[in-house]
Amino acid sequence: MTDDPVRLYRTVRLIRRFEERAIELVRSGHIVGGIHPYLGQEGIAAGVCAALRGTDLVTGTHRGHGHVLAKGADPARTMAELCGRETGSNRGRGGSMHAADFSIGVLGANAIVGAAGAILTGAVWARRRRGDDVVGATFFGDGAVNEGMLLEAFNLAALWRVPVLFVCENNGYATTMPVQGAVAGTITGRAEAFGMPAAVVDGQDPERVRDATAAAVARMRAGGGPELVEARTYRFDAHHTFEHSVRLDYRPPQEVAAGRERDPVVIQGDRLPEATRRIVDAEVEATLTAAVEFALAGPHPDPAGALDHLYASGLVARTGGG
């Protein structure tokens, strides 16, 4: 995998630029409802997914574009989804917080903090029971480790030795709540309490994340149980784009400035010859230009189909009219 550094760079760069373009589309009103930018945390999704196979499964969070893109989702269909178009990955039904592509093992971003861990555990367990050699990675934030449902999932996965990598993206805050104000004990300690190996890794360095993941995945494929990785990171931008118009006072400016210094795109970019980086950057720009064009050209879904897919069984719901 000699091109690994390049691929990793391409991924972090793609996510970075995807988010920046998405923020533009929020500003221009093409993305309604705003987004939770992944800016600054790109190294985690990139590093984790670099150590997974195409058939492996992942679930993401409300801050989920990075997870989805790193696992291989089409930026064009993902951007179309954010714009609510029929051509989006979810036919415009999911939006930013629910982007999914089951064909590449992306079981979806999930807007409920702490909810996806148990879902992924069940999915990986089921696939292995059917004989598929898959593992899974589920992303969540430092806030999620206080949700009982996630801690229950730690227990189930550990007990039944389901090879799931629990990836905690510790960006220091749950919205405005600092991690020290919310987490008694430590994050890794919580995993260890369930008998799960747990490691802290520098989430700003995509290669470190990839290596930690690769080691865990190797143990898991060899029959090991679940593990946790706490990736220390920093959110460069707002919790959600609504903060761009409403100032919330919770992170000291010096802290933000310091946090932004260790930039995963720069860290990984510095590992590449300038020329290579330029080529990748150009490729990424082209991809995103095309993605935004594709997104904005896509038709808006027909309101007549507002309840499409409500029931997989074909049940047709009564509508609400008088």
Binding site: N90, R93, H98, I119, G122, A126, A312, S313, R318
Partner: protein
């Protein structure tokens, strides 16, 4: 024509579906030793990979089932207490129910939630005696409440084969019902049945109350000719079938063991009124608003709908109107 108990019918349905489809498996608390007696013999027959005892982690195992379903399996979860559905309400409503639409039709979530012993089991008091089927009818999760052994079998089989989540309430008051059953067959979801023909009034009765309604109808023979309609499925409700009956009788009384406000009785009455002009105001016999079942048996009974109340409601309905 073998005599079959309701409980045994549930066991048979589980056994038949486990045998028919290797994707079906059971999850629950104490189901291996069959504490509720519903899963009796299944561990021996299908082994510990298909009959899985869980830790007391209802939220995680409910979402684990969602994940397993997303990956193609058909989990059946047994819940020991009806109010455990409160505990996993988020997991069912926000995830299992919503995944198909939110992903734009990329997946299905065929999970069956089985509650043997719903409603009052005399002496189990406030936290063990709920009958929350109307909640699921409101959120739009397919909800069945079989009244007879044949339906217990047939509806549970259909629930397991359904591509959507289905909640199966097996009322404590029906579990000991026995009947001669000619042949066991799937019963279609969403289809009610006239249990007893009559001309003067249609009584809709839910679950175990079907038997009370039949008894009251017998008692009233000669006086009032009562038709008893058993909806079997509460959501989607068989409005066509009921409208057919009420169009003939012109009068409607509903008896149901959930709370009054926003209960299924209100829905049934409203749905009928949207289609049929009644000869007299409809009546409903339910639990009181906000009911909490007190422990002392006489109080517990006082809070459940009774035969006397039903008789009185039928009389009032007959007296009223044109």
């Amino acid at each position: 024509m073998p005599r079959l108990s309701y409980r045994k019918a549930l066991t048979r349905a589980l056994a038949d579906e486990l045998a028919r489809d290797s994707d079906v498996f059971l999850l629950g608390e104490d189901i291996r030793v069959a504490a509720s007696n519903v899963t009796a013999g299944l561990l021996k027959k299908f082994g510990p990979e298909r009959v899985i005892d869980t830790p007391l982690s209802e939220q995680a195992f409910t979402s684990f089932a969602t994940g397993a379903a997303l990956a193609g399996l058909r989990p059946v979860i047994e819940f020991q207490i009806p109010s455990l559905l409160f505990l996993v309400f988020e997991q069912i409503v926000n995830h299992a129910h919503k995944f198909p639409l939110m992903t734009g039709g990329q997946c299905a979530v065929p999970v069956t939630y089985l509650v043997p012993g719903s409603g009052s089991r005399t002496g189990w008091a406030g936290q063990h005696s709920d009958h929350p089927y109307s909640l699921f009818a409101h959120v739009g999760v397919t909800t069945v409440v079989p009244a007879t052994p044949a339906d217990a079998y047939g509806l549970l089989v259909s629930a397991i084969r359904c591509d959507d989540p289905v909640v199966v309430f097996a009322p404590a008051g029906a579990l000991e019902v026995r009947a001669d059953v000619d042949d066991l067959a799937p019963v279609p979801l969403g289809r009610g049945v006239v249990r007893r023909a009559g001309d003067d009034v249609t009584v809709v009765a839910v679950g175990h109350l079907v038997h009370d309604a039949l008894a009251v109808a017998e008692e009233l023979t000669g006086e009032v000719s009562v038709e008893v309609f058993d909806p079997r499925t509460l959501y989607p409700f068989d409005v066509d079938g009921l409208v057919d009956s009420v169009s003939r009788t012109g009068r409607l009384v509903v008896v149901d063991d959930s709370n009054r406000s926003c209960g299924i009785a209100a829905e049934i009455i409203t749905s009928v009124l949207e289609r049929v002009r009644l000869a007299a105001p409809p009546r409903r016999v339910t639990r009181p608003d906000g009911a909490v079942l007190p422990f002392a048996p006489a109080l517990d009974r006082a809070v459940q709908p009774g035969r006397d109340q039903l008789t009185a409601a039928i009389h009032l309905c007959m007296k009223d109107g044109s």
